[in-house]
C-alpha cells in the first residue's frame, strides 16, 4: 500500500493494544500496592508482637536485678545475664523490624511517585490522546480508501489516464488528515483537466 504507508489492520491492532495495556497496567499497579501493603501489615503485626516480648523481657530482667540485689544483700549471687541476653535479643528484633518497615515504606514511596507519573501523565492523559490520534489516522485511511474505490468507477471504458491525471484525483493521506481535503469536495488540482 505505497500511497498510505500504513496497514489499517495493524493501526487498529495498535490502538486496541494501547487500550489493553492501559487496562492491564492498572491491574499491575493494584498488585504492587497489595503486595507491599500485605507485607507492611505482616511486619506491623510482627513488630507489635516483638515489642510486647521486649516489654515482658524487660520486666523479667528488672525483676531479676531486684532479686539479685536481695540475694546479694544476703551474701549470695544471682546471675541475670541470661535475662539480659534475652532482652538484648528482643531489642535487636524490634530494631530489625523497624528498619524493615522503614526501608519498605521508603521504597514504596519512591516507587509510588514513579507509578503515579506513569498512571496520571501517560496512561490517563497521553495514551487517550494517542488512541484518538490513531483513530484519526484510521479514519483518514478509510476515507482515502473510499475515495480511491469511488474513483475506480469513474474513468470511461478504455480510458487510460496519464500519471498526471491519475495523481490529480488522488489526495494524499496527509491532505486527508490535515483536512486540506474535505470529503465530497474533491476538485482536480488543474481545472483544465476537468472532473
Amino acid at each position: 500500500m505505497p500511497d498510505l504507508h500504513a496497514n489499517p489492520e495493524d493501526l487498529a491492532a495498535l490502538r486496541n493494544a494501547l487500550l489493553r495495556f492501559a487496562e492491564r497496567q492498572q491491574e499491575a499497579f493494584a498488585q504492587a500496592e497489595a503486595e507491599v501493603q500485605a507485607l507492611l501489615r505482616d511486619i506491623a503485626e510482627a513488630l507489635a508482637a516483638a515489642r510486647a516480648r521486649e516489654r515482658l523481657l524487660n520486666e523479667r530482667a528488672q525483676q531479676c536485678h531486684q532479686q539479685a540485689a536481695y540475694v546479694a544483700a544476703a551474701g549470695g549471687w544471682l546471675d541475670c545475664a541470661p535475662a539480659e541476653r534475652a532482652l538484648a535479643h528482643a531489642e535487636r528484633r524490634v530494631a530489625q523490624l523497624i528498619r524493615a518497615q522503614d526501608m519498605l515504606a521508603r521504597a514504596w514511596e519512591t516507587y509510588h511517585s514513579r507509578q503515579s507519573y506513569l498512571r496520571d501523565a501517560e496512561l490517563e492523559r497521553a495514551l487517550p490522546r494517542a488512541v484518538r490520534y490513531l483513530e484519526a489516522v484510521l479514519n483518514g485511511v478509510e476515507a482515502y480508501l473510499a475515495v480511491r474505490l469511488d474513483r475506480a468507477d469513474e474513468p470511461p471504458e478504455g480510458f487510460i489516464p496519464s500519471p498526471a491525471q491519475t495523481q490529480q484525483y488522488q489526495p494524499t493521506l496527509d491532505e486527508l488528515l490535515t483536512k486540506k481535503h474535505v470529503e465530497g469536495e474533491l476538485r482536480p488540482r488543474n481545472p483544465e483537466h476537468g472532473v
Binding site: H5, N7, D10, L14, A17, E35, W108, E122, L173, D174
Partner: protein
C-alpha cells in the same frame, strides 16, 4: 523471589511492544513520525523507568521479607 506486579507489567509491555514491532516497520510518513516522537518514545521511556523502579521495589520487598522471616529463627 518474584513479584507479581513486576511480571504483569513486563508481560503487559511485551504484548504492546509485539504489536508495535508489527506496525512500525511499515508505517511511514509524518503521521508515523509524529506518533513515534510524541507518544511512543515517551511511553517506552516511562515504562522502562517504571520497570526499573519495580525492580527496586522487589529488592526492598525481598530484604523486608528476609528480616521478617528471621523472627521465626529467633
Amino acid at each position: 523471589m518474584t513479584m507479581q506486579a513486576e511480571e504483569t507489567s513486563a508481560e503487559n509491555w511485551r504484548a504492546l511492544q509485539d504489536v508495535w514491532e508489527r506496525v512500525e516497520p511499515d508505517w511511514r510518513g509524518p503521521n508515523a513520525e509524529h506518533f513515534a516522537r510524541h507518544f511512543w518514545d515517551r511511553l517506552e521511556f516511562e515504562v522502562q523507568r517504571h520497570l526499573h523502579e519495580l525492580a527496586g521495589l522487589r529488592w526492598a520487598l525481598e530484604r523486608a521479607r528476609e528480616r521478617l522471616m528471621a523472627e521465626n529463627d529467633s
